[in-house]
Symmetry: C2
Subunit: 347 residues, 2 copies
């Protein structure tokens, strides 16, 4: 039975108000005419407070990620597509194929419904493209000045294939460190958008769903992928430090092997950013036995999201868990954890 409303949601000039989070008719209309319309699937159409999923046998991977990026729209994406990619990637970093997403929206009173629709459409397209339907969700509204447009928390579930055992503690001395592509694109795109900076070329966020790339890698070498991590907040430096800490090893990476776009490098110099610490949203680090590195590198390079993949260093024994880098000038320096925050609200 279809509920009827006295008039349709005004998507051209309407704004979110507190009634859209009140559980009544206004909220039901927002869900019907915006969320169910665009995310369109059987689970949402059932309008239960939860979705029931049939899953293949195996270990379930689950991950959740809040998205608070500012601005909501940026070169190469928006908070909607990012909220899909961010969580799909966190699930994929276990080697799992992400299958379903849940989405919780926290809307600020006064948000133009047109902006929300644009975000929802982008989110629907990203979910469709990643093969991860948004099967359940929730909407809350806070008063003007108590939020910032929209925050989206997504949760993803997937199943880890048999024989795959990927975790942050598995790096061992002698392993190779692979990176799937150029660093810093996302953070620099956001920063340029935020500061209204113009560069000769337009730098776009690399925001992308990595589950296809991971599936290709897992298919090629299921037992040889020891660690996967996407270097998001805190950038490559943080991802490597996390893995070094979890595994109780050191790393030695080679600056000249780290792919970076010349325009991103130039922008980082202008903005005073170290690209090693700048967020990425469509890259991964892979740690594997040295003997498997060339094979995995070839598989990565065959995938559109791994074209610029490179072997950037190796895992070494180090009781202190230091990440060190051979610089382009032949020296060596420690790549430490970031202490403060270079770029707030980057994801």
């Amino acid at each position: 039975m279809k509920k009827t409303y006295t008039s349709r949601l005004n998507l051209s000039t309407g704004k979110v108000d507190l009634s859209h989070g009140g559980g009544g008719r206004a909220m039901a209309q927002l869900i019907d005419e915006l969320f169910i319309k665009h995310f369109d699937n059987d689970w949402l159409r059932q309008r239960n407070d939860q979705a029931l999923l049939s899953l293949p046998a195996g270990r379930l991977a689950i991950s959740t990620d809040g998205h608070v990026i500012s601005p909501l729209f940026f070169p190469g994406g928006d908070i909607g597509s990012l909220a899909v990619h961010g969580t799909v990637n966190d699930v994929a970093m276990s080697g799992a194929q992400p299958l379903y997403l849940a989405a919780g929206f926290i809307l600020e009173e006064g948000l133009p419904l047109a902006d929300l629709e644009r975000i929802v459409i982008s989110m629907a397209a990203a979910a469709q493209s990643a093969g991860t339907p948004i099967v359940t969700g929730d909407t809350k509204v806070v008063e003007r000045g108590k939020g910032d447009g929209v925050f989206i928390t997504t949760t993803g579930v997937g199943i880890v294939p048999e024989g795959v055992n990927i975790a942050g503690h598995r790096a061992q001395p002698g392993c190779a460190v692979l990176l799937s592509g150029t660093i810093g694109d996302h953070g620099v795109a956001i920063m340029a958008g935020r500061e209204n900076l113009q560069f000769a070329t337009r730098i776009l966020s690399d925001s992308a769903a990595l589950n296809g790339l991971v599936a290709a890698m897992v298919a090629a070498a299921p037992a040889d992928i020891f660690c996967l991590r996407d270097p998001t907040r805190g950038g490559l430096a943080t991802a490597l430090n996390e893995l070094a800490q979890q595994s109780g090893v050191g790393m030695l990476i080679d600056e000249t092997q780290i792919p970076i776009r010349p325009d991103v490098q130039a922008a980082c110099e202008i903005l005073g950013l170290d690209p090693l610490y700048v967020a990425n949203e469509g890259k991964l680090v892979c740690i594997c036995p040295a003997a498997a590195a060339e094979r995995l590198l070839a598989v990565m390079r065959e995938h559109p999201l791994g074209r610029d993949a490179a072997i950037i260093g190796e895992v070494v024994a180090d009781a202190h868990g230091f990440v060190q880098m051979r610089t382009a000038f032949g020296g060596k320096r420690i790549v430490d954890w970031p202490v403060g925050e270079q770029l707030p609200r980057i994801c």
Copy 2:
């Protein structure tokens, strides 16, 4: 390997700052000394961006809920315990036993770390008591004035037992409508706290995890529970209207059978609220064949959270999907969907 920090997190006078969401050392310390310390379990200790779960075979139920309640602390609970109960209950309303939770925090710069610790401790206790460990999470920080202390989005997963088929579209004419206890306690407790109202007795939120009650009901009558819904935002009136709409039926309830505490009734009169529309956080509506109603009622009343359970009405054939109520004065009125928002930020 344990990372060491130069000093411990200052939980007595410290405040959340943007570095706690930056992905670096400050965030790692917050996670170690607050989240992992209190939520303490093997999944979190592994510090991966996702958790791997072993689940029994069956249909997976998943639900997500954002929590934006204001104030953060209220009589009978706080945003931490509520964030556990809200999602545990949404999962349980499918008949599933909730097994695991994920939690995404959006913190506002300046939030006292002491408040956050109090919330995390309460959340940990609620999760422990519900039997649903918090296995993965995420923390973001927004600038002062772009959030409101803390928002928590939780996602829960559980497995629906064989032979159980509970969904909002299954109500049929002739079915009985059961309610597990008194209405309005949560909304009135929040409102009284917000407006600093004093009543002769202290009204507490009913915030509670209903999975134990649901498990007892499912064990007693697995095939006879057609619909379950927790009447949260929008209250009992909204839950009944949702079920009527999903099932394409009407309902006829009896005002004199609806349990309500006299102090809540009095407070609603003072505050100008209709208790039918006031939120609950520890109650459920159950729709079952009339023949099973007394049996389920007895099971509910044996459980501490169902002591005041009652049969409040019946499902009737009605192409318009109206919910009607026989009033205490012998008349009949339509209990419509709420249009606006009586009580914003109630959950």
